[in-house]
C-alpha cells in the first residue's frame, strides 16, 4: 500500500489499493461459485448413488469451466415485445446485491474491506434489494410463466425477510453492536469462556434455526424453490433468459448461498474463532481457515436439504413464514430480553 501511495500519490494509491482488495474478494468468490455448482452435482449424485460429472478433466474437476464456456458462447435472445432495457438490467440487479454485501464481511479481526459500525444493517438493506432482479426479470420477459415465478418469489422473499430480520435482532441484542467484527469477538467471551458453547448458536438456538431456514428460503433454494418450480412453471422468473444473461442469475443464486453461509458462520457459529482451546497451538488459534470450514459445513447443509426434502406447497411456505417463524422469533426476542436483564444473563 505504501508503495502504491508513493507511486500514485495518496488518494489515487488508496483507490487502486481498494480496487485490488475488491478484486481479492470477488475473484475467489467467483471461483467458489463455480466449484459450488460442481460440489452440488457431486454431493447430490453420491446421495442418489450416482457418481455425478466425471468426464471433463480429472474426476470432473474442469466441469464448471466447460459449463461457463458453453454459456458464454450462446446467443442472448431478446423476446419480442419484451421491455428491452429492463430485460437486460434484471440480471445486473440480481447479482449486484450478492456482490456488494461482501464489502462489510470480515474474514478475521482485521481483514475486512469496510469496517463500518452499521455493517449488519448494511447487509440487511443490500440483500433486501435482490428481489428487484427477480421481479424485473419476470415482468420484462413478457411471459406468463416468468411473471408467475416472479410473483411467487417476491412474495416469498418479502415474507422470509421479516423472520430473518427478527433473528438478527436477537444477535445484535446479545452483542450490543451492529458491527460484524464486534459480534464475532463477543462470541469469544462469556461464561463458557470462548469455547464452542459460548457461540451464539446455543443460547440463541431457535433464532439460529429460523435464520438458517429463512436463508434457504431467501435464496430460493429447494425445498423453497417454488419460484423455479420446474414441474409447474417451467423455470420460473428466468424462463426467457439464455446464455450469459441466464448464467448471471445462476451466479447470483450461488453467490447468495455463499453469502448466507458466511453470515450464518459469523453471526451464530463464531466466525473465525476456533472450536478448540487456545492451548492447542495451531488448531486452537482463530484463523480464516475456521471460517471457511464453517461456511463449507453450512453450504453442505444447503445441498443436503436439496437432495432430501420435496418442494413445499405455496400455502405451506406462507404458513411457515408468517405463522410459525415470526411468532417464534418474537417470543424468542422477548425471552432473550428478560434473560439478559435477569441475574442468569450470560452476556455481562
Amino acid at each position: 500500500m505504501e508503495l502504491l501511495q508513493s507511486l500514485l500519490g495518496s488518494e489515487a494509491g488508496m483507490a487502486v489499493w481498494t480496487l485490488l482488495k475488491i478484486l481479492a474478494i470477488v475473484a475467489p468468490l467467483m471461483i467458489g461459485v463455480a466449484y459450488l455448482t460442481l460440489a452440488e452435482r457431486k454431493v447430490i449424485g453420491y446421495m442418489q448413488i450416482r457418481i455425478g460429472p466425471n468426464r471433463v478433466g480429472p474426476k470432473g474437476l474442469l466441469q464448471p469451466l466447460a459449463d461457463g464456456v458453453k454459456l458464454l458462447m450462446k446467443e442472448i435472445i431478446l423476446p419480442t415485445q419484451s421491455s428491452k432495457g429492463l430485460f437486460l438490467l434484471a440480471p445486473v440487479l440480481s447479482i449486484m446485491p450478492a456482490l456488494a454485501a461482501w464489502a462489510v464481511i470480515p474474514f478475521n479481526d482485521t481483514m475486512v474491506l469496510a469496517n463500518i459500525n452499521a455493517s449488519l444493517l448494511y447487509i440487511m438493506a443490500i440483500t433486501s434489494m435482490g428481489v428487484y432482479g427477480v421481479i424485473v426479470a419476470g415482468w420484462a420477459g413478457n411471459s406468463k410463466y416468468s411473471f408467475l415465478g416472479a410473483l411467487r418469489s417476491s412474495a416469498q422473499i418479502v415474507s422470509y425477510e421479516l423472520a430473518m430480520g427478527f433473528a438478527l435482532v436477537g444477535v445484535l441484542m446479545v452483542s450490543s453492536s451492529l458491527n460484524l467484527v464486534d459480534i464475532v469477538n463477543q462470541q469469544g467471551q462469556g461464561m463458557a469462556g470462548g469455547s464452542i458453547f459460548s457461540w451464539n448458536w446455543l443460547p440463541l438456538f431457535p433464532l439460529f434455526i429460523v435464520y438458517l431456514v429463512s436463508g434457504v428460503a431467501e435464496t430460493n433454494r429447494a425445498p423453497f424453490d417454488v419460484a423455479e418450480g420446474e414441474s409447474e412453471i417451467v423455470a420460473g422468473f428466468h424462463v426467457e433468459y439464455s446464455g450469459m444473461a441466464f448464467a448471471i442469475f445462476f451466479l447470483a443464486e450461488y453467490a447468495n448461498m455463499i453469502l448466507v453461509a458466511v453470515l450464518t458462520s459469523l453471526l451464530f457459529l463464531g466466525g473465525w474463532l476456533s472450536p478448540f482451546p487456545a492451548s492447542w497451538g495451531a488448531i486452537g488459534a482463530s484463523s480464516i481457515v475456521w471460517l471457511l470450514v464453517k461456511m463449507s459445513a453450512v453450504l453442505f447443509c444447503f445441498l443436503w436439504f436439496r437432495a432430501t426434502f420435496p418442494r413445499y406447497r405455496y400455502d405451506q411456505i406462507m404458513r411457515l413464514g408468517w405463522k410459525v417463524f415470526i411468532p417464534v422469533t418474537l417470543v424468542s426476542i422477548l425471552v432473550l430480553g428478560v434473560w439478559m436483564l435477569s441475574p442468569l444473563s450470560l452476556w455481562k
Binding site: 421491455s83 429492463l86 463500518i116 459500525n117 452499521a118 444493517l121 448494511y122 440487511m124 438493506a125 443490500i126 433486501s128 434489494m129 428481489v131 428487484y132 421481479i135 424485473v136 415482468w139 411473471f147 410473483l151 417476491s154 412474495a155 418479502v158 425477510e161 451492529l178 400455502d315 405451506q316 404458513r319
Partner: protein, 215 residues
C-alpha cells in the same frame, strides 16, 4: 470542488432526473422503478450527511419492502394509458396550483429564520462531541426523550394494520381450505387400511398360466 461536492451534484442530478421520470414515464412499472431509483439516491444523500442509520433504513423499508409491494400491485393492473391521459390538460391548472402552493410552503418553512437551520449541527460534529454511533444516539433519543410519542405512533400503526386486515378479510363459503394442523397430525392409519387375508390356493393353475401368456 471537493470529492463530497462532486458526489453530491451527481446524486442530485440522478435524483432530479428520477423524480422527473416518475411523473412523466408512460408505463406505470417504469415510473415505479424510477421511484425506487429516487429513494436509493436520496439515501445516498443521507449517507453524505453521515446519517447512516436513516440512509440504510430508507433502503431497507422503502426500497426493500414498500416498493416491492407497490410494484407487485402495479404489475398486476391492466392500465389503459390512453384513457388515463384523456383529461390531462383540463386538470392541469388545478394540479399546477396545488403543486406551486406546496412548493412555496416548503421554501417558506426552510428559509424562515425561525427554522434555525443554521444552528443544526451535522452528525459528524455530534459524533465528535462524544457519541460514537448514529444508531446509539437515535435509540437513546427515541427511548428517553420521545418515548411517549414513539409508543403512541407504534400503537397507531398497529391499530391501522389490524384495521386493514379486518377490512380485507373475507371468508368465502365455496373455497376449499385445508387445515395444516390436521395435515400435520395425520397418522398412517387414517389414510391407509391394511387388509390381512389368508392365502388361498388357486384351483386351476395350469389354465390361468396359459391365459396370462396369451394376454
Amino acid at each position: 470542488m471537493s470529492f463530497q461536492a462532486v458526489v453530491f451534484y451527481i446524486l442530485s442530478a440522478i435524483l432530479i432526473f428520477a423524480g422527473f421520470r416518475v411523473v412523466t414515464a408512460k408505463n406505470p412499472v417504469h415510473a415505479a422503478l424510477y421511484l425506487v431509483l429516487a429513494f436509493f439516491t436520496a439515501s445516498g444523500h443521507w449517507l453524505l450527511l453521515q446519517a447512516e442509520f436513516l440512509a440504510i433504513a430508507l433502503v431497507l423499508v422503502y426500497v426493500g419492502a414498500v416498493m416491492v409491494l407497490f410494484l407487485f400491485v402495479v404489475m398486476m393492473l391492466d392500465i389503459n394509458v390512453e384513457k388515463l391521459r384523456e383529461g390531462f390538460w383540463r386538470h392541469f391548472p388545478q394540479a399546477a396550483t396545488v403543486a406551486l402552493i406546496m412548493m412555496a410552503e416548503i421554501v417558506l418553512i426552510l428559509s424562515s429564520p425561525e427554522a434555525h437551520l443554521a444552528d443544526v449541527k451535522p452528525a459528524a460534529a455530534a459524533a465528535a462531541a462524544g457519541e460514537i454511533s448514529n444508531v446509539k444516539v437515535l435509540g437513546r433519543q427515541l427511548y428517553t426523550t420521545y418515548l411517549l410519542a414513539f409508543e403512541a405512533a407504534a400503537v397507531i400503526l398497529l391499530v391501522a394494520m389490524v384495521a386493514a386486515i379486518g377490512i380485507t378479510i373475507r371468508q368465502r363459503k365455496d373455497s376449499k381450505y385445508v387445515d395444516p394442523g390436521v395435515q400435520v397430525r395425520v397418522q398412517s392409519k387414517d389414510r391407509v387400511r391394511v387388509v390381512k387375508m389368508a392365502a388361498t390356493k388357486r384351483q386351476d393353475d395350469a389354465v390361468s398360466d396359459s391365459n396370462e401368456q396369451q394376454a
